[in-house]
């Protein structure tokens, strides 16, 4: 049987002339009908670039300079752009990376599906609309009729990803490319979305090219795996063989770093700082409650309880993890603890001092003791500031040290997060995702806080970088005996870093306890559901 997708000796350059670098350097593989192939590798390994070359959507500045790509008998690289556009959507479908930015914000869901249909099928508008409704039903969205007339911002991330899967598969493509399609989703949503993709492609016998850094996902879903490093294929073969008996060091590194595949025993046993120190907890949260009022278009309000009677304690120098799906109230809890938001009821105290209800000078004082690190390090760093200015900004706002001292301290902080001093004068845009998150961490520890709220702080990073940042956090905790409130939807990561864990569902803490106990002996059915949804569970 001839392959549906053949890639041979593909070379893609970024830049031109002598400055050009090979992002993809001689990649080749085959994918047959009905099969799923996972293209795995760290960020920068060329997996996304390869996928974009296949569908003919390379970013500005990237250029295919060699090789051959054939999809269902079409030589992609020799086609004219107009003809390539005709293959997109009809023969090749794309499920993009981040559903929250992948739909046109100013057009209804219905219009965007209808567009995909009418670009390839000569259907009249009303027939296409009926077909769009069928698409939404097929991808399992509730109230599909309503969704047709809604806009992207009115749907959740998981729902938007379903819409995108619907769009990618509506014309029955032979090849579906899923580019990190579920990386940003909660584990339970991720599982449902991947199941949906499996079902839809199985129906049509289409092939799936999964681009992922999550080996757990590859282990669960792919028939074969191709491992990329620095733009080259370093290992490939059937999934069980590659993941069970990795030959290349790059593959081994990926497997070791994958939190979903690592067992809990791998966790470095940390000495809990108990040497005669204060045994009272650092943070005490009691009966926390937060209500939001949603204002409808006509002005009638609707109450939403985001956090409902949540209570926990964090001992000094330890990590407490809050896990749950998006919308479970974990970020709201984190923001209340950091003093960014006021609760509707209950209290949070640090060292006995009330955080909730603090105002003015007291609240400002608290900022020195509680810091916050966000998921998206790009959005939380001012693009116009140099790295050393970003790191020194908290010192400046509290008037600590002279300008020269602050600069000195900024360099120390960068060293503490293992960033070379040469980066101090760069701007955030010139850094990688992992480096940016290190800068955000350096800024957070600049004032030597007692507690750092880490809100999905490693969720956007690929596994290798994620592992490094987690190690850095553990090292800093040991050195500074800082406590962490670790907010995450990724249970696998939580197991690696947390001492205790609380499981939030719809604003309520359904289970909490020491991390090993909760993972090995979950008592609440919801915790079990979350644990089962971790990709790679089957492979373990």
């Amino acid at each position: 049987m001839s392959a549906l997708l053949t890639v041979e000796g593909l070379v893609v350059d970024y830049g031109r002339g002598p400055d050009a670098t090979h992002a993809v350097d001689g990649v080749g593989f085959e994918l047959h009908e009905g099969e799923t192939l996972a293209l795995v590798g760290a960020s920068g390994s060329g997996k996304s670039t390869t996928a974009h070359a296949i569908i003919g959507l390379l970013p500005e500045g990237a250029k295919v300079v060699g090789g051959r790509i054939s999809v269902a008998g079409n030589e992609i690289l020799t086609l004219r752009e107009r003809e390539r556009a005709r293959l997109r959507g009809s023969v090749i479908g794309l499920v993009p990376q981040d559903p929250t930015v992948s739909l046109d914000p100013v057009q209804t869901i219905g219009r965007q599906i209808v567009e995909a249909i009418r670009l390839h099928q000569g259907l009249p508008r009303h027939a296409a609309r009926a077909e769009a409704l069928a698409v939404l039903e097929r991808v399992g969205i509730d109230r599909p009729k309503l969704r047709l007339s809604q806009y992207p911002h009115e749907l959740s991330g998981g729902q938007r990803q379903r819409v995108l899967i619907g769009i990618a598969t509506v014309n029955g493509p032979r090849l579906v490319i899923a580019d990190e399609a579920t990386s940003g989703l909660d584990v339970t949503v991720q599982r449902r979305v991947l199941d949906q993709l499996d079902a839809l492609t199985a129906e049509d016998g289409a092939a799936v090219l999964l681009i992922t850094h999550d080996l757990g996902v590859a282990a669960d879903r792919a028939d074969a795996v191709v491992v990329l490093e620095n733009g080259r294929v370093v290992e490939s073969g059937p999934t069980a063989r590659v993941l069970g008996d990795p030959q290349h060091p790059a593959t081994r590194r990926l497997i070791e770093s994958a939190p979903s595949l690592a067992s809990a025993r791998d966790r470095p046993s940390r000495v809990i700082a108990a040497e005669g120190t204060d045994a009272s907890p650092l943070l005490t949260v009691e009966g926390l409650r937060k209500e939001f009022t949603l204002r409808g278009a006509i002005g009638r309000g609707e109450h939403i309880v985001a956090v409902d009677d949540v209570g926990f304690e964090i001992p000094r120098g330890q990590t407490y993890a809050l896990v749950g799906e998006s919308g479970s109230g974990k970020t709201t809890t984190g923001r209340i603890v950091a003093g960014f938001e006021r609760p509707s009821g209950g209290s949070a105290r640090i060292d006995g001092e009330l955080i909730t209800g603090a105002r003015g000078a007291a609240l400002r004082g608290l900022r020195r003791r509680v810091q916050y690190v966000y998921q998206n390090p790009f959005a939380s760093l001012d693009p116009r500031f140099a790295v050393h200015e970003i790191v020194a900004e908290p010192l400046r706002s509290f008037g600590i040290g002279t300008r020269a001292e602050r600069r000195e301290r900024a360099l120390e902080l960068l060293e503490a997060v293992h960033l070379p001093p040469a980066l101090a004068t760069r701007r955030p845009a010139q850094l990688s995702g992992g480096q940016r998150q290190r800068v955000a961490i350096a800024r957070a520890i600049a004032l030597e806080p007692q507690l750092v709220v880490l809100d999905e702080a490693v969720s956007a990073l690929d596994v290798l970088v994620q592992r490094q940042v987690l190690e850095l956090l553990a090292e800093l905790q040991e050195r500074l005996s800082v406590s962490y409130l670790f907010i995450s939807h990724d249970l696998a990561v939580v197991r690696l870093v947390a001492d205790e864990v609380g499981v939030l569902r719809a604003g309520r803490l359904v289970e909490h306890g020491p991390v090993d106990r909760v993972f090995d002996d979950p008592r609440h059915p919801y915790t079990r559901e979350l644990l089962e949804a971790i990709p790679g569970t089957a492979a373990r």
Partner: protein, 315 residues
């Protein structure tokens, strides 16, 4: 949605009322004597000949002898009924003077706005659509350049080329559409330049958004990507700018009407300011506030149709 409309209309009314109040304070209540100003406006010799009794009579006629707050509501009440008093200069009702000047200015303003929108959008779309590096660079560079041309110079150039050399359009006067074309273009050019600038940057930025990749992955051709998706997403900031530049059109009208020897609001404004004809100046200021409020109201009402996130916030 109804609430949104009601709120926007409310804002517009507040803007007009506030403008009227501020001009009242500035023109009538600042530490100067409005009677002297008016007498002066009517001519130096009149001012010097006016006796104390005559001054008092004049003050009484305009109500200056009453408490400020009474004057304010008196004038506001009259204004609401459409009575804006008499011009100091020629004793004609202000409403009539302005009514005569208004149509000609509105004609060139609207025509100018239409030209500016077409030209601005056209240049922005072409700049991004073009694959030719030179043309692209040119189309991106021209708007900032033309934005810096002075209005009178643009007007004179247009006159020179299209009236005197080519003879396509009349050089002066108020008669009909043909006479309005050149003044409208003169008004349109600085506005078009700023619309083009904001729109082309907006389209450029939108084209780099991830959702554009999805649109292309659906199989959409280049034209569709640019016109249906990128253009519409880039419109919001440009639309805001349209609202803000309307004030500039009035200011431009003064210069433009002078260059093309047209009668109109700009002309009337200039004459009234020169002769310190307070009632006329006040209504002209008020009218530009009304124009500003109406255009911004229209812009606010159009927003939700372009960007649904404005009237339908996320849950």
């Amino acid at each position: 949605m109804l609430w949104y409309i009601a709120r926007r209309v409310g804002y517009a009314l507040i803007v007009v009322w506030a403008a009227w109040t501020v001009t009242f304070i500035l023109l009538y209540r600042l530490p100067s004597d409005p009677v002297s100003i008016m007498l002066h406006g009517a001519g130096g010799e009149v001012a010097s000949r006016a006796s104390a009794t005559q001054r008092a009579a004049l003050a009484h006629q305009y109500g200056f002898d009453r408490p400020v707050i009474v004057q304010y509501f008196l004038l506001l009440g009259r204004a609401l009924r459409g009575d804006f008093g008499l011009s100091v200069q020629n004793h004609l009702p202000v409403a009539k003077l302005v009514g005569q000047a208004l149509p000609s200015t509105v004609q060139i303003a609207l025509l100018g706005l239409a030209f500016a929108l077409l030209l601005g959008a056209g240049v922005a779309i072409a700049a991004n659509y073009s694959r030719n590096r030179f043309l692209r660079g040119l189309l991106f560079a021209v708007p900032p350049l033309t934005a810096s041309f002075p209005t009178f110079w643009v007007g004179l150039m247009l006159l020179e080329v299209f009236s005197f050399r080519l003879g396509w359009f009349p050089a002066v006067g108020n008669d009909g559409f043909r006479a309005a074309v050149l003044p409208a273009i003169t008004l349109a050019i600085p506005a078009a330049a700023s619309y083009a600038q904001v729109l082309s940057r907006g389209i450029e930025k939108t084209l780099r958004e991830p959702f554009i990749d999805v649109v292309r992955a659906k199989g959409a051709q280049r034209a569709r990507v640019h016109l249906v998706h990128a253009f519409r997403n880039a419109m919001i900031p440009a639309l805001t700018l349209v609202g803000l530049t309307v004030g500039g059109i009035f200011a431009g009208a003064v210069v433009t009407e002078t260059v093309f020897s047209r009668s109109g609001m700009g002309n009337l404004l200039q004459a009234s300011v020169n002769s310190q004809d307070i009632p006329v100046v006040q209504i002209l200021v008020l009218l530009s506030a009304v124009a500003f409020a109406i255009v911004n109201l229209a812009v606010d009402l159009v927003y939700p149709f372009i960007d649904p996130r404005i009237a339908r916030p996320a849950r």
